[in-house]
Every structure is written in structure tokens, then in C-alpha cells.
Amino acid sequence: MVSVILLLPLLGALLVAFCRSEERVKWIALFTTGLTFLLSLYILFNYDISKGGFQFIDYGSWLPSFSIRYKVGVDGLSLIMLIMTTLISFIAVPSAWKYIDRKKKLFYGLLLLLETAMIGVFVSLDLLLFYIFWEAMLIPMSLIIGVWGGERRIYSALKFFIYTFAGSIFLLVGMIVLVIVYGSVTGNFTFDLLQLSQFKLPLELQKWLFWAFFIAFAVKVPIFPFHTWLPDAHVEAPTPGSVILAGVLLKMGTYGFLRFSLPFFPDAYKLYAPVVFVLGVVAIIYTALVALVQEDVKKIVAYSSVSHMGFVMIGLFSLNVQGIEGAIFQMLNHGLVSAALFFIVGAIYERLHTRSVERMGGLASFAPKLATLAMLFTMASVGLPGTSSFIGEFLTILGGYRAAHWVGYLMALGVIFGAAYMLYMYRNVFFLEPKVLSFKDLDAREFLALGFLALLVIWWGFNPEFILKFVHGYTASLLGGV
């Protein structure tokens, strides 16, 4: 079943490649991503929570001479990431509908390839398979940034590609070292995630490997000071590119920490948690301050992503139930909210061809629907109770507080700065004196996409248990081992 979800977008990409009409590809992409989303919902409703663990496992021999297997499956964590990925990809298609006006075939083909790679990252149960998807995703993503992006698109695409690739170097070497050490101790050469995570490494090696994995994941999250690729990539990427970058790609790093770093190197993970707390707090406050002085709407949202991922990181390293569940919830929630915000920024850009805050203003009087939805997502980004962000931020702050009090205080300070820059941006864009003569409100396609996300944000704000029930078992077994 998981394999079907994994391969469906690939099939869609092939269809796009053989489709003759430049217009029909949109519909193929919409249909494929929609179907993928529905199938992932099927898995969501058929996942047996009481049983827990990995389910829907598909495996087959792939590289028997090196005992590398094709093995995919989902547990609570993967499942939530899977739903998020298929949902965001499904939303990315309408966000591209008008924005992408040339080389459409290439675009939708790449988008579908990207979806396969992203799903693969979250469902792989074999280290090498994970790495392959993790890297394979770079090609379509940087092409999307580089071909349809803004003025400095080539620079940003190259920076994104090389930066992330350079980070992954250490991941690859670390994986091979891990596997070979495991093989020399147990006599069993395998890349299987489940077997490797049972293995207790000596602390000295844990420390080295922890940092090797850390660099790769930290670049992807991104954690301060590895975040410099993100503003470039986000700002220059076309709207659907930003939606996917913020919505899904950033979560791959945090997913990596949970899936690999914590089970493989629990002692080093605990040992270095304070370092991550410091980096996380710096990320939260520093990037919030940076966001406060930006003129470019997209940059503000981009920096807010770095800031919010700081919460996730601290939650992950707090090593208590609240922190980790909060972090997982915040990953999902940030996926929805930042995707929606980039969608909105993209919609404004399509109409005004500017992203400068200075040249907007008073849009609320022209576009009430847009203004209402934008208000909702701004509030969600700030963490207003009633939206899903509140749950995520509250839980991560609680987790941080339980780990170390000062962390909790500083995170709360970050929330205030977050409110400051988001509200400041909202006021300048939607209120004040109108600086434009006319502005078209959302059309049905945009309204449906954003409305859907809005419903989810509110629903999960009031009913977080709907998501969290999938991760209770996962967190318990994870923390049992620490």
C-alpha cells in the first residue's frame, strides 16, 4: 500500500512526460496528487493505533549482494509526515495553477518526482533507501527554484543544492561507519533501520556519528547558523516551490533527528541537548528580530520558518513527552501554516508583482476573502489559542521548560517577537492607506485550497488528539529507551 503511494506520483510524472498538451498536465498533476492524498488518508484510517509500531510494511530484495533492501512502512510519526507531504503537494498544484506560465510540462513533472522523493524520505525503513530519496529530492527542487524563480534564482538554486549536498556528505559517511561497525560487532551487514536501532554503540563513537548526522539534518531544518540558504531559496523560489520547501522539506531534517539520531545515539543526543537548546533559542530570537526589519513579505515568512523550526528543535531535544509530541505536532502545523502563508504571499505577488511591504497597503478593502484567511493564518503563525499552532508551541515551550527553565522563558520571549513581526506585516499589507488602485480577490481555486487548510488548522487547534493519538505510542517507546 505504501509502495503504491510512493510510486503513484512517479507514474503521474511519466504521464506528464508523455502528455502532448501543455494545459492538460495541470489536471494530471492535480488528479495524481489528489489520489495520492486520498490513499494516504486510507492508510491513516486503517492504521491500527492499539498495535503501534511499523505497519503496512512492503519489502523486497533490492541489492542482495550488499543486503540493502527495499523496505517501506509507516509508524505514527511517518504517518503524520506522510499525510502532511501528500496534503502539501496537493495544495502546491493549485498554487502553481497561474503562477507557472511557461514550461508547464517540466514543472508538473518535477513536482510529481519531488513528491515521490519526499514520500520516500518519510517511509523508508532502510538507511540507504532513505539517503537515496533524501538526495534525489535535490535535483527537482533546485530545478524548480532555478527555472521559475525570481531574479537571483540561479544563485539560490545552486546555493540550495550545494549547501544541502555538502551537509549530507557526513550523513553518508556516518551511515556507512554505523553499518560497518554494526556488521563487525554482530556479524550481520545490514542497512535495516529496525535492526540498527536496537544496537547500542559505544559513547565515543556515538559522539562522532551524532555530529555527522547532525550536520546533514541541521542544514535541512535549518538550525542557526546553517540557515543562510533558506532565505535565498524561499524568496527566489516560485510560490509552489516555497510552499513545498517550507511545508515539507524543512521537516525532513527534524524527522531525521527523531528517526535516526535519537534511537541510534541516545547518549550523545542527551549529552548535546544543551548545545541544541542554545542554537534553538538563538534561532528563535535572532531570526524573529531579523524578520522584524525585513521589507520583503516573502522574507518575513521565510525567517519566521527558521524561528518556528527552533521551537521544533528544542521540543525534540527536551526529551520529554510534551516536548517531543509538541515538536511532532508543530512540524505538521508549521507545514500547513507556512504553506498557506506562502500561498497567500504568492497570490498577492501574482496580482501586484511586488513583494515589498512598502508598496502594499489597504488590501483588506479590495479583497475581504483574502484578508480574512490571511488574518486566520497570521494568527495561527503567532500561536493564537484555537489554532493548531497554539498546541504545538505550547507543548514545545512546556517541554523546553521542563528540560531547563531558561529555555522555556526565552522561547516564550520568541513568541512575543513572532507576534510583533507577523502583526506588523499584516497591518502594513492589509490595513493602512490603500496604495494600489485595484486588487482582485481570491478566485474559487485559491479560496478552496486556502479554505481547506484553514479548516484543518482550526479543527486540529480544537482537536489535537486526532493527530496526537498516533504518536503517543511512538513517543512512549522512544522515551522508554532513553
Binding site: S65, I139, S142, F165, I169, V173
Partner: protein, 480 residues
């Protein structure tokens, strides 16, 4: 001891075909030559693939009193050589149509002579045979570089390659002479029994032989000729040099060093590792600023050679496996890359520069996407063939405990990512007009097939892994 002539049947077949080519060349009118000789060479190479398949023994066999020894390492590398040459012929057919030469027949039969040399080189089990086959191959390639009319670049490259190549050959032969002086024999098996000590002549001979091989492989510090020659030679010849000469030299190196210098493995393994890391970095850094794609690929070849060399520092079995796997991947990638360049080349050396590839996607989406596959495979991005080659080298290095070297070659590969991305940037992201000469269907087909293999073996590398494992076990039977 016996002659066992039938073991060398594939080589003799190619040689006979090349000589027949000389005779036919005298009889044919010029206008049919290209078509005829291309068909003829394709037929010969295809037939030799079958001959190699049926005559390669799993248990190593010797012929001509131990002058040649064949095992599956030889067999698989010969198949790889024949495959690369086959693509070279397809590409040459299109290239000869675009570029004028009086020597159509010579071009094809010299190519066959070079193939013969390469095939004999990977089966050599004796120093003189190795040297003679090396020279047959090299001299044919010098000639091939200079065959085109008004191609001053090719002639310069040929001369440069000839002079530098002769020096390299002289160095190797001096090393061989020393070995002969020490042992009184040129046979690998006899040599091995004399070389167990660290005596000065042995080390000197080792140093000379290593230098000579590094020269032929184009590794630092003997890489100076590579960019000029790769750049100057006609593209199909560069393709042949990049793929066939490299495979032959590497396999000959494995077949010479493991049996003969086995007790000194640690020593030369480390030499190769150091040289490999330096080559990987020099190649990657020098390629960053190249505007001509052939030149860029020449530096990339230096870098790849370096990566392969580092693998030799590991346990012999793992080294041989990862080197052979890398050669498979590297041959496919090189053939695809140079075939691709040849496809886009027009008169006056147009189509070889990055700026000629601007907005290639607008002209031909298929070619532009093939370009992504080729260059990303060279960069080692999964799930393409090149990734697995890199992966196995890393496994070999980590197994030997050389994590530092593994990280170093990966850093070099991160640097090289920049120049591998540049063609992609030009083809997709820059505005402009790409040069696109009329596409030759055969040439196009050959490139498309190799690109398809880059993806296929990237997703299912098991076939090549198994082949390399078989070759390895067959090879090990011969030395233990």
C-alpha cells in the same frame, strides 16, 4: 604449458577484422566508406562481445605459456571495452558526417586496432605483452586524434599526447626492465616469487611502474596532458580515450599489482590513496572555471580517477570489487557525456562551450533531460549509476578504517557538484539560443541507450554488483 590459442580468439578476431579493414579500404569508393565501415565495425564489435562471453573462463586460464591469463575480470572489462567502443563507433558515424576527413577507412580500422590493444592489455600476464598491447592502443589513439582535415586542435593534441605518452611509456618500460633485472623473468607469476622484500631496486621499479600508470591514467602529478588532449582530440576519440583507455589501464594495473606486488600492498595502496585524494581535489578545483565542456570533463576525469585510486588502499578483495564497479559506472557516464557533446557539436568547434547550451530545454526537452541525467550521475547524485560507484568506494574506504579519506573525497565531490550543475544551469535556467545541429539518429540512439542505462543501473545496481563480484572471485582464484 601449451599455446591454448583458442583462449585468445576474441582478440585475434578483432585484429583480423582490423587488417581486413585495411584491405577493404583500398577497394571502396569514398562516399560509401563511412556507412560501410561503421556497419562493419559494429558487426565486428558485436560479434566479439559474443566471443568474449563464450570464451571467458571462470577458473583463470593461461595461454601462450603464461603470456596471457584470462579470468572474468578480463572478461567483464573486455565487454565494457567493447561496449564503449561500440558507442564510439555510433558516435563516430555521425561525427564523420559532420566533419570532413580523407581518412574514413583509417579512422575505423585504427579504432579496431586500439580496441585490440585494449583487449590484449587487460588479459596480459607478462610485462612485454602488457607493454606491447599498451603501445598498440596508445599509438592507435595518437593517430586517431590527428585524422581530421583543418583540425589544428586535434593535430596539436595528437602531437602532445604522443610526446607525453612516449615519456610515460619510457618510464613504465624502465620499471619493467628493473623488474626483469631483479627476477630474470617477465612473467607475473615468476616475478611474484622474487618480490617479497623491500630492497631498493624493487621499490625503484615500483615507483617507476606506478608513475607510468599514473601517467596513462592521468592522475596528479602526471595529469598535465589530460585537459589539452581531451579538449583537442575529436570528440569520439576523446570518448574512446576517456572510457576505453582508462578501463584498460586500470584493469591492467589491478592484474599487475595484486599478483606481483602483493606483499607490498600496504605501501602502494597508501601511495595511491594520497595521490587519489590530491587528484580528486585538483580535478574538482580546476574544473570549476572551465567554459569548454570537454576541458571541464577532462578535469572531472582526473577527479574521478583520483576517487578510484583511493579505493586501492582497502582490503584487496574490496578494492578490486569497488574499482571494477566504478569502472562500469565511469565508462557508461563518460561514453554518455562525450557522446552527448558530439551530438551537439557543429563545424568550427561550436556546441562544446557552456554558452552554446543556453536554453537547450527550449530546443529539445529530451536532450536537456538527458543532460541532467548524465551530469548528475557524474556528480554522484542518487538514484543514478554514478552514486553507487561512489558509494562502494566509500564502503571500501570505511572498511579499511580510512574515514578521513572517505570524507575528503566526498568534500571533493561536493566541490565538483558546482561545475556539474553548470551545464544544467545553462540548459534550463539561462535565456538564449542553443546550438543544435541536425541530429544523427544512430548517434542519438547510442546516447539515449546509455542514458537509459545510467537510470536503470542507478535504480537496479544489483546486476553490476553481481558481475563485479563474479569478476572478483574469479580474479582472486588466480592470485591465491
Amino acid at each position: 604449458m601449451e599455446l591454448n590459442v583458442k583462449l585468445l580468439f576474441p582478440e585475434f578476431f578483432v585484429l583480423a577484422a582490423a587488417i581486413t579493414g585495411i584491405l577493404i579500404d583500398l577497394l571502396l569508393p569514398k562516399r560509401v566508406k563511412n556507412g560501410f565501415f561503421a556497419t562493419f565495425s559494429v558487426f565486428v564489435l558485436f560479434a566479439s562481445v559474443f566471443l568474449v562471453v563464450f570464451s571467458s573462463p571462470f577458473v583463470p586460464e593461461e595461454a601462450f605459456n603464461g603470456f596471457v591469463k584470462k579470468d572474468l575480470l578480463t572478461g567483464f572489462s573486455q565487454i565494457l571495452i567493447l561496449f564503449s567502443s561500440l558507442i564510439a563507433v555510433f558516435v563516430s558515424y555521425g561525427f564523420l558526417k559532420k566533419f570532413d576527413t580523407d581518412h574514413v577507412g583509417e579512422f575505423y580500422y585504427t579504432l579496431l586496432f586500439a580496441v585490440f590493444g585494449a583487449m590484449l592489455m587487460v588479459s596480459a600476464n607478462e610485462l612485454a605483452t602488457l607493454f606491447v598491447s599498451l603501445e598498440v592502443m596508445s599509438i592507435s589513439v595518437y593517430v586517431l586524434s590527428a585524422l581530421f582535415k583543418k583540425d589544428y586542435r586535434g593535430k596539436e593534441a595528437a602531437l602532445k599526447y604522443f610526446i607525453m605518452g612516449s615519456v610515460g611509456a619510457a618510464v613504465i618500460v624502465y620499471g619493467f626492465a628493473l623488474l626483469y633485472g631483479i627476477s630474470g623473468s617477465t612473467n607475473y607469476g615468476d616475478l611474484a616469487s622474487y618480490i617479497s622484500t623491500y630492497s631498493f631496486p624493487v621499490l625503484l621499479a615500483l615507483a617507476l611502474v606506478i608513475s607510468g600508470f599514473l601517467f596513462k591514467l592521468g592522475a596528479v602529478p602526471f595529469h598535465g596532458w589530460t585537459p589539452d588532449v581531451y579538449h583537442g582530440a575529436p570528440t569520439p576519440v576523446t570518448l574512446f580515450m576517456g572510457a576505453v583507455v582508462k578501463i584498460a589501464a586500470f584493469v591492467a594495473l589491478l592484474k599487475l599489482f595484486y599478483p606481483v606486488f602483493l606483499p607490498l600492498t600496504q605501501k602502494w595502496g597508501e601511495v595511491f590513496a594520497v595521490i587519489g585524494v590530491v587528484s580528486a581535489f585538483v580535478g574538482a578545483l580546476m574544473a570549476l572555471r572551465q567554459e569548454n565542456i570537454k576541458r571541464m570533463l577532462a578535469y572531472s576525469a582526473i577527479s574521478h580517477t583520483g576517487v578510484v585510486l583511493t579505493a586501492l588502499v582497502s582490503v584487496p578483495a574490496v578494492s578490486v570489487f569497488s574499482v571494477l564497479f566504478y569502472l562500469f559506472a565511469y565508462a557508461f557516464m563518460t561514453v554518455a557525456a562525450f557522446g552527448f557533446i558530439s551530438l551537439l557539436t557543429e563545424k568550427g568547434f561550436k556546441g562544446e562551450n557552456l554558452s552554446d547550451w543556453r536554453n537547450l530545454y527550449g530546443k529539445s526537452p529530451f536532450l536537456a533531460l538527458s543532460l541532467v541525467v548524465i551530469f548528475m550521475s557524474l556528480a554522484g547524485i542518487p538514484p543514478l549509476f554514478g552514486f553507487w560507484a561512489k558509494f562502494y568506494v566509500l564502503v571500501a574506504l570505511v572498511k579499511a578504517g580510512k574515514v578521513g579519506i572517505a570524507v575528503a573525497i566526498l568534500i571533493a565531490s561536493a566541490i565538483s557538484l558546482y561545475f556539474y550543475l553548470r551545464p544544467v544551469v545553462y540548459a534550463f535556467m539561462k535565456e538564449g539560443e542553443a546550438v543544435l545541429p541536425p541530429i544523427e539518429p544512430f548517434e542519438f540512439g547510442a546516447v539515449a541507450v546509455t542514458v537509459f542505462f545510467l537510470i536503470l543501473f542507478g535504480i537496479f545496481p544489483e546486476l553490476i554488483s553481481q558481475a563485479s563480484l563474479f569478476a572478483l572471485s574469479s580474479f582472486l582464484r588466480g592470485i591465491i
